[in-house]
């Protein structure tokens, strides 16, 4: 109740302060971007930030790229509403980094140049493999982009306190959402086209710092409130949820047991396993993460950046635990669902409650809310910039320079095309996001992870470790994994045939799981194997070159 009252009294202050802080972030990052643009002369500068970043800087930037709105707002929200199950996401998202560290980061850094396809196409026929890789890069990135931008639109009305029937600068909630999506889209286009990888990386670093500071501050306040006794925080959260001890155990959200329906129970459990697999295998196939490894000078620096990233991201996910349970205990699920049914506003609402408590009433509440809201916008902005850069790099370097121009494009021309691509991809995602506003944000992120794990990861691992792998295998692996993931989702209950579906009034659903990973990821690996063995092609010399370069760093760019 207290927080609702605070929201009423403090909403004007919080809104103005949020806008001021957000504009300050935009001003600082635009300044950095313009500075970075003066340093950006060659293609290596534009695509890979001149390979001049240190392991620590890139580790922060990876954190900035990876800790999206889905992590900050989504996981805190799921924990706040469903308790323990939100923690499953944190664990999967973190453990996934071991795949990147042990199997991918250094080998990719040594043998590639600008994009994921540099490694996939290394010993293959360039055009078919690069085309497939570009299709898959853009598909994954657009799903991920949509999730972030739709999230931004959905949040703005809540964070700026625009309620149905009220207006902000003469806009109602629906118009404000569209305006936000366009603003976010325009800013991300500017970051990428002007600043390239260098500007984008600094934006990520600033954002990662702000996000960590914000999450740390809130966690300390939550823990201070409970005198640093985790057990009493958990006890309070469980009591406030009205679900008792079950709130602290797995099973309220995922793998639910449906009494008297063993089939549905089985599907629910399979869905949980499927989600678990997609989370842990998706990360090492995300193109916007993979290209970050090119921004450091050596494989050793790539290793260091993943170690920093694991430290930063791991710490952050531990903090989300305190934020989620803190919101459950101090805000309460009723107040959270009253704002947003999916729980996405749990973290900002917690900030408001904590500010009220610790920093003297309404003004304190408004201030802390404004800070956290501005951090949330910064988070979204940085992630969409990284995604736009990854897809425009692939479009320019893979599709334009190597497929259309067959490797004969000048560097100048290629970078110009990359900038135009960023503009086009930005515009397309703005349009799609406005159109897709009613889609579920979590579904889009999970789909991006499943598609990345199914379409990209098998091809990457086979490329780096399997001598026999060839063009046919790469093309089969990418299209097989990509198509199976997308098709299964299309026929799943998230698209049609259920009350919470995208098209609740239609029913073409026959695939029972919400996440396709458990089928589509093994299918991607299988396709890669079949495609390889049915083709006789095998380039021993190029494999020798790839393997020697990947393992030793000889001839690395």
């Amino acid at each position: 109740m207290m927080t609702v009252l605070a929201a009423e009294a403090g909403s004007g202050t919080a809104r103005n302060l949020t806008i001021v802080l957000f504009l300050a972030f935009v001003a600082v990052t635009l300044g950095i971007t313009i500075w970075a643009s003066r340093q950006t002369k060659t293609a290596t500068d534009f695509y890979a930030g001149g390979r001049s970043f240190s392991g620590f800087q890139n580790g922060m930037a990876i954190g900035g790229d990876y800790m999206s709105a889905a992590s900050f707002l989504g996981i805190a929200g799921i924990i706040a509403l469903y308790g323990y199950d939100g923690f499953l996401y944190s664990i999967g998202f973190l453990v996934a980094w071991l795949v990147a560290l042990l199997l991918v980061a250094e080998l990719l850094r040594n043998s590639g140049r600008y994009t994921m396809a540099d490694v996939l196409a290394f010993r293959m026929r360039q055009r078919p493999v690069r085309t497939a890789a570009a299709v898959s890069t853009i598909t994954v990135s657009i799903f991920y982009l949509l999730a972030q931008m739709v999230g931004a639109g959905a949040l703005v009305a809540l964070l700026l306190g625009i309620k149905p029937g009220t207006t902000f600068l003469g806009m109602d909630a629906a118009t404000a959402k569209v305006a936000t999506i366009i603003l976010v889209g325009a800013l991300m286009i500017i970051y990428v086209t002007v600043g390239g990888m260098k500007g984008t990386t600094y934006v990520q670093i600033v954002k990662a710092f702000l996000l960590m500071a914000g999450a740390l501050l809130m966690t300390l306040l939550v823990l201070a409130k409970y005198k640093f006794n985790l057990s009493s925080l958990l006890g309070d959260a469980a009591a406030a949820s009205g679900k008792g001890a079950a709130f602290l155990e797995p099973g309220l959200r995922y793998g639910r047991e449906v009494a008297g329906d063993p089939t549905q129970t089985f599907y629910n459990k399979m869905d949980l396993l499927s989600l678990g697999i997609a989370l842990v295998l998706g990360t090492a196939g995300l193109p916007h993460i993979l290209i970050r490894f090119y921004t450091v000078p050596t494989a050793k620096a790539a290793r260091k950046s993943v170690l920093w990233a694991i430290g930063i991201i791991g710490t952050f996910y531990l903090l989300t635990l305190a934020l989620g349970f803190g919101a459950a205990a101090l805000v309460g699920s009723e107040a959270i669902t009253a704002q947003d049914k999916a729980g996405n506003t749990a973290a900002p609402q917690l900030a408001e409650a904590l500010g009220m408590d610790f920093f003297g009433g309404n003004l304190g509440a408004a201030t802390l809310l404004a800070i956290i809201a501005a951090v949330a916008f910064a988070t979204i902005l940085a992630v969409v910039a990284g995604l736009t850069l990854a897809s425009s790099s692939s479009l320019a370097h893979d599709f334009y320079a190597n497929v259309i121009k067959r490797g004969q494009a000048s560097e100048r021309r290629e970078v110009a095309v990359a900038r135009i691509s960023a503009l086009i991809i930005g515009a397309v995602s703005i349009a799609l996001s406005i159109y897709a506003q009613n889609l579920n944000v979590a579904f889009l992120v999970a789909l991006a992870f499943a598609v990345a794990a199914s379409g990209n990861l098998p091809a990457i691992l086979y490329s780096l470790f399997w001598k026999r792998f060839n063009t046919s295998g790469a093309v089969w692996a990418i299209y097989g994994g990509l198509l199976s993931a997308v098709v299964l989702v299309f026929f799943s209950p998230v698209v049609s045939g259920s009350a919470t579906a995208m098209f609740p009034n239609h029913d073409w659903q026959w695939f029972p799981l919400s996440n396709p990973g458990i089928i589509s990821i093994p299918f991607g690996f299988l396709c890669g194997w079949i495609g390889t063995v049915i083709s006789k092609e095998h380039d021993e010399e190029k494999y020798a070159e790839l393997e020697v370069r990947a393992l030793t760093g000889a001839g690395a760019h």
Binding site: I310, E541, G553
Partner: protein
């Protein structure tokens, strides 16, 4: 494998050079050292993670067991142990790579006459 490369351009082509390195005992040792660590470790952390997910799905009573007479249960501790194991494996790998992989890789690179890191021909 000769330990010093003449400063003048080698007579063999680049492709032959890579093949020769790839077939050398030293490179085989590097490959074995890398795969000998990362493959078993990947299997280990994947099974450990899978065990956690499977227990979350099928062993709810076990996961809900309260520990130390507080609100902390097996599920929470198990989840936190996943964090611990991730940090631990990352640290172990970085130590192993620094000590066992980097020296061999550096040596092979030196033997190939590689010193620079710049943007040369398209790879």
């Amino acid at each position: 494998m000769s330990t010093d490369t003449p400063p003048s351009a080698p007579a063999e082509s680049a492709a032959e050079r890579y093949l020769a390195v790839q077939r050398s005992d030293e490179f085989a040792g590097l490959r074995r050292a890398l795969r000998g660590f990362v493959f078993p470790m990947t299997v280990a952390f994947f099974l450990w993670y899978a065990l956690y997910v499977i227990l979350s799905a099928y062993a709810r009573d076990f996961m809900g067991t309260k520990l130390f007479g507080s609100n902390i249960n097996v599920a929470l501790v198990f989840g936190l142990l996943q964090f611990v194991s991730t940090f631990l494996i990352a640290w172990l790998y970085s130590r192993y790579a620094d000590r066992r992989l980097d020296p061999i890789a550096d040596r092979i690179r030196a033997e190939m006459g590689e010193v620079r890191h710049d943007d040369g021909a398209r790879g």
